[in-house]
Symmetry: C2
């Protein structure tokens, strides 16, 4: 199947939307937990979390253009400066998926989708108790992407919580953590490790 | 295992680097192909490609801080404005992985890692012939992330090429495309679809 720019633009927005959401390949499946200053919590699935750097440990995610219905996560982050990122795992994929419905801001997706708020010491934002791999994030910067009105939201990892058994050969094994991936808007995939190669040094590249 | 900010910063940079590269969960495994104005091609593995929007169809990726050794991809894109994104598939994972070695800019990773340049009409940048899922991208904007010197490079999809069989129920099936994921810097995973849910409408959310 070959599309060129002309016919990408011509495609109906709905028929176009789903394939374009899938073209990058597999995406990490995470829930972002937030709370506003009135104590109202919010939980939403995000597939756009991206590693920006390790020193400092920075992660970004893409927030869609803000409307009354969309953007509760980013608004809460602006309000109090903290949020959590929680890996989605197979036993609560369905609960996690339905957090993407456009609930009124007065409804907590934790409660509506039957996932449990968990608080960690005095860290402000709620973690997802059911997830075994979670991070407490401090908001650092929001960068406007003027081309389409989206926002790159950047935070620093302040807490990192995962099972001891997940650290295999000094790396996190995503089969052990039972983490899942998303394609497009609503397909979920499990992961099986196929290969691990050494860090690629020029002097050690095999002949092909 | 629980890390808090204090001990994340204390960890040795090498021991720290790999886990922090893995914390987002699974990442899409893609090769970016470029060419400079002298006809020198470059190919490099990227795990940071992120969907920014569907109308227009925009994708971003993170380019590390530019040095003599690092950043050939972004330099070529700045020079001629075009690049390709190609899904990595199991039969050339090893070749793809070793494009990450810091080869001199005069060495083409296509040749050194035995992957084939493919040109599509008058589109300037080289595709990877071995990949069955590939995109021709037009550079739109580079946004500096001042927190750590990285760059968000944004492009628009001009060509989209994938197997007819990959479109299942109006969505791209990543098992059919045989696309793989990356964890951290050097672990590769295959994908198995576990669930597909409808687009989540508030009125259709099940009781949990």
């Amino acid at each position: 199947m070959i599309y060129t720019k002309g016919n990408i633009e011509d495609l109906d927005i709905i028929t176009k939307l789903k394939p374009i959401n899938s073209v990058t390949g597999i995406k990490p499946a995470n829930l972002i937990g937030t709370i506003n200053n009135e104590g109202q919590t919010n939980l939403a699935v995000f597939s756009s979390i991206v590693h920006l750097g390790s020193k400092p440990a920075l992660l970004g995610f893409i927030s869609r253009p803000q409307t009354a219905e969309v953007g509760h996560t980013f608004r809460n982050i602006q309000e109090n400066g903290y949020y959590t990122i929680n890996h989605i795992q197979p036993d609560f994929v369905k609960n996690a998926h339905y957090t993407s419905a456009k609930f009124d801001s007065k409804i907590s997706e934790f409660k509506r989708c039957n996932l449990s708020e968990e608080y960690n010491g005095d860290f402000k934002a709620p973690f997802v108790k059911e997830s075994t791999f979670k991070m407490g994030m401090k908001f650092k910067e929001a960068i406007d992407i003027k081309l389409n009105g989206t926002i790159l939201v950047i935070g620093e990892i302040e807490h990192l919580i995962f099972p001891d058994t997940a650290m295999v050969d000094n790396d996190i094994d995503l089969e052990v953590t039972n983490s899942v991936g998303i394609s497009g808007l609503n397909s979920y995939y499990s992961l099986s490790k196929i290969e691990k190669y050494p860090y690629a040094e020029v002097t050690e590249v095999p002949e092909f």
